[in-house]
C-alpha cells in the first residue's frame, strides 16, 4: 500500500484538458455573473418598482435553492419546454445566474457603503449621476467589494465541479474516469484537489495585487 502518483503519468493530458474546461466554464460564468451583478445592483437601487421586484425575485430564487437543482432544471428540465441547451451552455448559464445572484448583493452593498457625502459632493460640483458613478462612486465601491467578490469567484470555481453531473468532462469528471481505469482514488482526488487549489490561488493572488494597488489612498 501507499501512494503511487506515477500511475497518473499517462493521464496528464486528460487532466490538463479537464482543468482547462473548468477554467473556461468558471471564467465565462464569472464574467457573465459580474455583468448580471452590476445590472442587478443598479436595478435593486433603482427608483423603478418593477425592476426592483424582478431583481429581488431573481436573487431570492437563486440564493435560496441548491445550485445542483438549478443546473438540473436548466439542463434536464427546460428541454421539456422545447429549448435544449448543450451541456456547456447549461453549465455556464446555471453558474452565471447563481454567481450573479450572490454578486448582486455584493455590488449593491458596496455601492451603499460609499459615504452619502460623496454623492452629494459630486452632485454639488455639477456632475450627472452616471458621471459621478464612473468617476467618484464606482472606484470607491470597487475597492470595498473586491474581497467579497474574490470569495464569490472562488466559490464559483469550486462549484463548477457540479457541472460534471451534466456530462461535462471538466476537472472533477476527468478524475472520476481516471479512477475507473486505475482504481487509485486517493491519488486522483488529491491531484484534483491540488489543481483546484492552484486555480483558486491564482485568483486570490491576482485579487490581492489588485487590492494592494487600490490601497494607495488609505
Amino acid at each position: 500500500m501507499g501512494l503511487d502518483f506515477s500511475v497518473l503519468t499517462p493521464f496528464i493530458p486528460a487532466l490538463v484538458e479537464g482543468a482547462w474546461m473548468t477554467i473556461q466554464i468558471s471564467f465565462l460564468s464569472l464574467v457573465i455573473g459580474l455583468v448580471l451583478a452590476i445590472l442587478g445592483a443598479f436595478s435593486k437601487l433603482s427608483p423603478i418598482f418593477i425592476l426592483r421586484k424582478i431583481t429581488e425575485f431573481y436573487v431570492w430564487v437563486f440564493r435560496g435553492t441548491p445550485l445542483l437543482v438549478q443546473l438540473f432544471i436548466i439542463y434536464f428540465g427546460i428541454p421539456q419546454l422545447g429549448v435544449q441547451f448543450t451541456p456547456f451552455q447549461a453549465a455556464v448559464l446555471g453558474l452565471s445566474l447563481n454567481t450573479g445572484a450572490y454578486a448582486t448583493e455584493i455590488v449593491r452593498s458596496a455601492l451603499q457603503a460609499v459615504d452619502k457625502g460623496q454623492y452629494e459632493a459630486a452632485a454639488a460640483l455639477g456632475m450627472s449621476k452616471p458621471l459621478a458613478m464612473y468617476r467618484i462612486i464606482g472606484p470607491q465601491a470597487l475597492k470595498i467589494l473586491v474581497p467579497a467578490m474574490v470569495n464569490q469567484f472562488v466559490m464559483t470555481v469550486k462549484n463548477s465541479s457540479m457541472v460534471s453531473l451534466l456530462t461535462i468532462t471538466e476537472l472533477f469528471r476527468t478524475g472520476e474516469s481516471i479512477i475507473t481505469s486505475t482504481f487509485h482514488s486517493l491519488e486522483v482526488y488529491l491531484i484534483i484537489a491540488a489543481i483546484y487549489l492552484v486555480i483558486t490561488s491564482v485568483l486570490m493572488f491576482i485579487a490581492s495585487r489588485l487590492e494592494k494597488g487600490m490601497r494607495v489612498y488609505d
Binding site: E120, G126, M127, Y217
Partner: protein, 240 residues
C-alpha cells in the same frame, strides 16, 4: 440671484422649514445662524437643490427653478463646502480640485492643473498637491474642499458649517481663507456658529429658529440689537 417664495420643507411628516421668503443678491455675504435643528443647513441645501423643495417656489436669476436643466445650471454656478469636507478619498488634493473642471466643464488637463495649483496655493497648500485626503489634517482637507469648489468659478459659495467638524486649533486657518475670499468680493452664504466671522465678514445676518426666519438684517441689527427674545436668548447662550 436666488429667491425663495413661501417655501415649506418636510422630512417625512416633520416640517423643517416654514414659509421661507428670502432673497439672496449677488455680492452679498450672508451668514445664517441659529440653534441646531433650526433648519439653517436644510435651507442652505435647498439653495443648490441637494434637498428638494416640496412647497413654494425658488427662482434663480429670475427663472423659476424646475426640472433637470435648472438643477444643472445652479450646481455649476454655485459652489458648496460641506461640514464633513467630502473630499474624494481616491484622488489626491490636486486631482480633487481638477476633477470637476475636467469632467464637467470639459477643460483640458493642463489648464485645469494650472488653475488647481494656483487655487491650492491661494489656500496655503502649495506643498500638498499630491497628498491624499487621508494624509491631510481636517483644516487642510477643508481648504482643499474650498479650492475644489472655487475651481468651478462659482458666482456664489455656499458654506455648510465649514468649521464645525474641525479641532478648535484648526478653525482659524479655514476662517482666514473664507475671510480672504469675502474681502476679494466673493458672494457667499455661510451657515456657521462662528460669531466673530459673522461680525467681521457678513453684511447680512439671518437668525433662524424652529424652521423659521426670525430675524434678518445687518450684523449690527441682528447681533447687537435683536428685535426678538429668541435671538437674544440664542446669542447670550452662544457668547457666554
Amino acid at each position: 440671484m436666488i429667491e425663495m417664495r413661501h417655501v415649506n420643507k418636510y422630512f417625512g411628516k416633520k416640517q423643517v422649514l416654514y414659509d421661507i421668503n428670502l432673497q439672496i443678491e449677488k455680492g452679498e455675504r450672508t451668514v445664517i445662524i441659529g440653534p441646531s435643528g433650526s433648519g439653517k443647513s436644510t435651507l442652505l441645501r435647498c439653495m443648490n437643490l441637494l434637498e428638494a423643495i416640496e412647497e413654494g417656489e425658488m427662482y434663480y436669476k429670475q427663472d423659476l427653478v424646475q426640472g433637470k436643466e435648472s438643477k444643472k445650471r445652479i450646481r455649476q454656478e454655485l459652489g458648496m463646502v460641506f461640514q464633513r469636507f467630502n473630499l474624494f478619498p481616491h484622488l489626491t488634493a490636486i486631482e480633487n480640485v481638477m476633477e470637476a473642471p475636467i469632467w464637467v466643464k470639459k477643460k483640458n488637463k493642463e489648464t485645469a492643473k494650472r488653475k488647481a495649483e494656483e487655487l491650492l496655493t491661494t489656500v496655503g497648500l502649495s506643498e500638498r498637491f499630491d497628498f491624499y485626503p487621508s494624509n491631510l489634517s481636517g483644516g487642510q482637507q477643508q481648504r482643499v474642499a474650498i479650492a475644489r469648489a472655487l475651481a468651478m468659478e462659482p458666482e456664489l459659495m455656499l458654506f455648510d458649517e465649514p468649521t464645525s467638524a474641525l479641532d478648535p486649533e484648526l478653525v482659524g486657518e479655514v476662517l482666514n481663507v473664507m475671510t480672504h475670499l469675502a474681502k476679494n468680493g466673493m458672494s457667499m452664504v455661510v451657515v456657521t456658529h462662528e460669531m466673530g466671522f459673522a461680525n467681521e465678514v457678513a453684511d447680512r445676518v439671518i437668525f433662524m429658529d424652529q424652521g423659521r426666519i426670525v430675524e434678518d438684517g445687518t450684523p449690527e441689527q441682528v447681533l447687537r440689537n435683536p428685535q426678538h427674545e429668541r435671538t437674544n436668548t440664542f446669542l447670550s447662550r452662544i457668547l457666554a
